[in-house]
């Protein structure tokens, strides 16, 4: 066969392949039940991506502890995964302690081995917090319905890194994937209130969060009371700041029903009620 004929056949086959590709590409997502907008990670990991998303979320917590983290063989692992520190930033840091979950060494191999790995419980501080962000980003990328990845990343970005725009953008990304998430709306409201000092928008967003909570959780046997507590307490503080004291009392009353510390909230209600007659007028709401 002449070389020119071989080249022509090759070109013809290429043209056929290209034409078929353009025609079939439109139908391919239907056959594979995949959305054309799915990310590369989603395509690569398939259904297992939720598992990996969890792994990367835990990785963020490991990074937050600078590698000091129980292994899957330690009893403390399950507890740490369920109640990881990176998701509960407002909780007080435990005192820095040597050993910690490791306990006393069982033998000389265990004792000597500890010289080569982190054995001190610490949390990332200041700008170093940014080191957890890639893991949270990957976790959200793998499982866009993992709301915690968005809220945790946003919290650290706006509170500790001053990256408010990035935090808002990430939260909005989360809201596009989870439009009914009251957790995301609560975090967005906090961003407006704490960082943008925009009480009006914060109120609207928190009220939307409250509505969603009532729609989704109120009928449940075990509702997410922690979120309701957070939303209502924040709304109460906002209304108190804005001078709408009756509204503030109303929200504190709502929070008191689900709060783990109702007596403290009662104290605040009593304080506001004392101010109510002196305020003279009630809020127009």
């Amino acid at each position: 066969m002449k070389a020119s004929r071989a080249i022509l056949i090759l070109l013809l086959l290429l043209a056929v392949a290209f034409s078929l590709g353009t025609v079939l590409q439109l139908h391919a997502p239907r056959w594979t039940h995949r959305s054309p907008s799915e990310s590369v990670l989603a395509l690569a990991f398939g259904e297992s991506r939720q598992l990996f998303a969890n792994h990367f979320f835990v990785k963020a917590d490991i990074s937050f502890h600078s590698g000091y983290y129980p292994s899957i063989f330690d009893e403390a692992r399950q507890a740490e995964e369920n109640d990881n520190d990176v998701s509960h930033p407002d909780e007080k840091e435990e005192p820095k302690s040597e050993g910690g979950f490791l306990g006393p060494p069982t033998d000389w191999i265990d004792r000597f081995g500890r010289h080569f790995r982190p054995t001190l419980h610490t949390h990332l501080q200041g700008g170093n917090i940014r080191e957890i962000l890639p893991w949270l980003r990957i976790s959200a990328e793998l499982d866009p319905h993992r709301v915690e990845a968005y809220t945790v990343a946003s919290y650290w970005m706006r509170k500790h890194l001053g990256e408010v725009d990035e935090a808002e953008q990430f939260l909005r990304e989360g809201l596009r994937a989870n439009p009914d998430s009251y957790e995301l709306l609560f975090e967005l409201g906090s961003l407006y209130y704490d960082n943008r000092h925009d009480a009006g928008r914060a109120r609207n967003v928190w009220l939307a969060a409250l509505r969603l909570w009532q729609k989704q959780e109120s009928g449940k046997g075990m509702p997410d009371n922690l979120s309701l507590d957070q939303i209502t307490v924040h709304l109460a503080h906002l209304e108190e700041q804005e001078g709408n004291l009756d509204r503030a009392v109303e929200y504190f009353e709502m929070a008191k029903k689900v709060s783990p510390t109702p007596s403290q909230l009662q104290k605040q209600i009593d304080e506001i009620k004392q101010r109510l007659p002196r305020a003279g007028t009630l809020s127009p709401h």
Partner: protein, 259 residues
């Protein structure tokens, strides 16, 4: 000793003639650079994820190079029948074993030096810090750990019939030790007798290669490991290296070399 160095020289030359190292290095560099180009929230100071991935790739690559290079040494000499002129030099079988070990170990050192240089540049360009001594410690401990692995694989290559068999078994053994070795005591405590004693005995018998994995110290910027601990760990590894090499020689000295 010259004969040992001559044999080891041939092994080193073999490493840079083969493509394994280049392929693994290019892959490591490519994946690291690709991940380094990802923009996380417009913050170019984020470095630890990159250090973690780069070090993981270095560890995988170094293990692959060490195990595959070592596993084919003696079987290849036997298959090509070059073992006979080698032993007729005259070179003793102990010198062949020592020379092969030294060659593989030094070849891995060259590969590790290149990998860590790359890691240092990548990490330094992000963090603007150059903890050279800490990197040296990590490199030294990894190289020491690989000495045990190479000695183990060399021992395997005089026991198992095919290099593939040796590579597979050694990979599983080394990965098993790295991932589980340090936790066998915890697992043993939860078992009943006699399984508890058996597992605890295994725990004391295996070389604890996980000690030498100090990636967390590097990634999370923990203080440098005391030099005395590094020295003790090196001595610990030396004992296992001697043990495996001696065992390899015991088997090899009586081995019939004709296939």
């Amino acid at each position: 000793m010259n004969k040992v160095f001559a044999i080891s020289g041939v092994v080193i030359k073999e490493l840079y003639r083969r493509k394994d190292f280049y392929v693994l290095f290019v892959l490591t560099a490519l994946i690291t650079l690709l991940l380094g180009s990802v923009n996380f929230f417009h913050d170019d100071r984020i470095a630890r994820y990159l250090k973690e991935i780069c070090l993981l790739l270095i560890w995988i690559s170094a293990l692959v190079i060490a195990i595959t290079t070592t596993a084919r040494q003696i079987p290849a000499e036997r298959e090509n029948r070059t073992i006979f002129p080698l032993l007729a030099k005259p070179v003793t079988r102990a010198q062949v074993i020592t020379g092969k070990f030294l060659g593989c170990w030094l070849a891995v050192a060259v590969a590790l030096a290149v990998f860590y240089l790359f890691f240092g540049v990548i990490s330094g360009s992000r963090e603007h810090a150059w903890p050279v001594l800490k990197y040296f410690q990590a490199l030294w401990l990894q190289w020491t750990m690989l000495a045990v692995v190479i000695a183990l694989v060399l021992f395997g290559s005089v026991i198992f019939t095919s290099p593939a068999e040796n590579v597979t078994i050694c990979f599983f053994a080394v990965l098993g030790i790295l991932l589980l070795g340090g936790h066998l005591n915890t697992v043993a405590l939860g078992l009943k007798e006699p399984a508890r004693t058996m597992l605890y005995t295994l725990y004391f018998l295996i070389p604890h290669l996980e000690w030498f994995d100090v990636r967390d110290i590097i990634i999370y910027d923990w203080p440098r490991i005391p030099w005395l601990d590094c020295l003790l760990a090196t001595l610990y590894a030396a004992v296992y290296v001697a043990l495996f090499l001696f065992a390899a020689w015991l088997v090899f000295r009586r081995k019939v070399l004709t296939t």
